[in-house]
Amino acid sequence: MTEQEKYLVRNNMQNVVTSVNINATFSEALQKMVDGRTNGLVVVDDENYVKGILSSIDLISYLVPDYLEEDKHLAAFEVAEEFTTRIKEIENEPITKFMTKDVHTIKEDRTLMEAATILSEFKIRQIPVVNEEEKLVGYINRTDIKKAIAHVLGIH
């Protein structure tokens, strides 16, 4: 591997990516998170094109009803059962209702500097990596960049 190739996204990314189909529901997405021991899922369609990102905070925010969102201090007066009632209400809702649709992706042949720039500019945790056909092939996160920096500095 040439020195140049070493710092391409392709050679620093995670090849195993936990994704979820765009037709999944709230509870199916949660199942994926629990199974994959992760707080973030890449949302893809049947052809493996990236359609969004779903993180645990998206699930949590969706759990909070609009009227408490509007008026956070009222949560102190809400009944305890509302937590479970609300979960039962939304368990079959499609994830398209609360996933982040505006998602930044990066091609696998791009440089780590571009990946670092995207992570830093949008303060996101991970970027889905796509191939030439824009299909999902992996993801690159803050830890991957950190490891590459350590590599350059000879820190092990």
């Binding site: 009803p65 609009d66 009227y67 408490l68 509007e70 008026d71 956070k72 201090h73 009222l74 102190a76 007066f77 809400e78 009944v79 059962e81 509302e82 209400e89």
Partner: protein
């Protein structure tokens, strides 16, 4: 009748039709229609700007800034939670208290702000009582519109009428508050009767509500004190403007400046929170109406109405009341009232009839009539939107079944009140 008369009429009717259809945002279409009136030379720009009632706009903007800051203190939620605690877990008592509070708040704030503040509280209270929130939601719509009738600042149509007629804040209270209180009482009583089987609480809810600490609703004590101070000054300003001759915009914008001074918040955020789309909607409407006046169409309408009623005071007053109610039930009451204002002035000028009763029936018809359907007023649309999102969709027919008879009773009460107070 010249060509410009017909062009104006077509632009006006098409603009209003699109506003009613809600196919395009009402602000965009009102601005486009107004722009067309100027571009076509129906009114000059000078005339158009003269037609904009900046007193109404200033009053709206000022109150939006004050309430926009004050609501962050949690003061309005505090009162509602406090009332729930006073109601001691008795759903009927709590229902009466909450709906009364909604009526009082909407007399002082605009109706949409009131329901935006109060609907979340009613959800929480209904959950605690384990009762269906729907009676609370439908009650909130009805009482916000009835309460808003009581004062000059309670509902946009009243602000428009107050500014155009020169009637004072106290005139509104003396003439409209009594009937607003009466209709509130009758409406709440009938709602309790209608929902008597649903307003039954779970036995454990009394204990939970007893533990409520209303202070938990207050998010910022310092802001609360400043807000109360500014609101008190603004209210004193309104109560005394008959003698001080300060205009509504001066009082509201003065209050807004004081609020910004006291809190020293970044004004940018608060000025952004002003509903500019509403303000521009009003501007567009004012210009559209000026164009209609300019070509003589308003005067013709006034003459037509007088011909119909034979210039009889009782017939004219009652047709303005019921006509306003029917129109406001179907369409947004703001464009309707904006058009009616010059028409009422012309009615007075042509017939020599006393104007005051006509202003009161215009306000009553527009405000109370808005209750009849789910699209009759902005508060209705806002509440049904929130209800739908929380899984308590209010159907158009379902709402009308309750609201139409109650609105009709309210209007009959208005008719009797107006007849005995102004027409005999």
């Amino acid at each position: 009748m010249g060509i410009s008369f017909w062009i104006t009429l077509i632009v006006f009717v098409v603009t209003y039709a699109i506003i009613i259809s809600e196919k395009v945002h009402r602000t965009v279409i009102a601005m486009a229609g107004a722009g067309l009136m100027v571009l076509l030379g129906i009114v000059t720009q000078v005339k158009a700007i003269e037609g904009i009632d900046f007193n109404t706009l200033g009053l709206l903007i000022g109150m939006m800034i004050i309430v926009g800051i004050a609501k962050h203190s949690g003061m309005f939620q505090y009162v509602a939670i406090w009332a729930t605690k006073v109601g001691k877990g008795n759903p009927t008592k709590i229902y009466i208290l909450l709906l009364s509070i909604i009526a009082v708040f909407s007399a002082l704030l605009d109706n949409v702000t009131t329901v935006l503040l109060m609907v979340p509280v009613t959800f929480v209270v209904a959950h605690n009582l384990k009762v269906n929130p729907k009676p609370f939601l439908i009650g909130a719509i009805l009482l916000s519109n009835i309460g808003g009738t009581a004062t000059l600042i309670g509902d946009p149509p009243n602000i428009l009428i107050g500014s155009a007629s020169g009637l004072t804040f106290n005139d509104f209270i003396v003439n409209l508050a009594p009937i607003s209180v009466l209709i509130s009482i009758v409406t709440i009583a009938l709602l309790i009767f209608i929902y008597r089987k649903q307003l039954v609480a779970a036995p454990e809810s009394a204990a939970i509500i007893a533990k409520f600490n209303p202070k938990d609703a207050i998010s910022d004590v310092k802001l609360l004190k400043k807000s109360l101070f500014v609101l008190a000054i603004v209210l004193v300003g309104f109560f005394t403007h008959g003698t001080t001759h300060l205009e509504g915009a001066t009082i509201a914008l003065g209050g807004a400046a004081l609020m910004l001074l006291l809190t020293m918040h970044d004004p940018e955020e608060h000025l952004k929170e002003v509903e500019w789309t509403t303000i521009f909607f009003f501007m567009g409407l004012f210009i559209l109406v000026v164009a209609l006046e300019e070509v003589g169409a308003i005067r013709m309408l006034a003459e037509g109405l007088l011909k119909l009623t034979g210039g009889n005071m009782i017939a004219t007053t009652m047709s303005v009341l019921w006509g306003s109610a029917v129109f406001s039930a179907i369409v947004d009451n703001i464009p309707f009232v904006a058009t009616m204002i010059p028409l009422i002035k012309d009615l007075g000028a042509i017939s020599g009839l006393p104007l005051a009763p006509l202003w009161w029936v215009l306000a009553l018809g527009a405000d109370i009539g808005g209750n009849a359907t789910l699209v009759g007023a902005s508060a209705n649309v806002v509440v049904s939107g929130i209800a739908g999102r929380e899984g308590h969709k209010i159907g158009f027919g379902e709402y009308m079944k309750i609201a139409l008879p109650l609105t009709f009773i309210g209007l009959v009460m208005c008719s009797i009140y107006v007849f005995f107070r102004y027409l005999v």
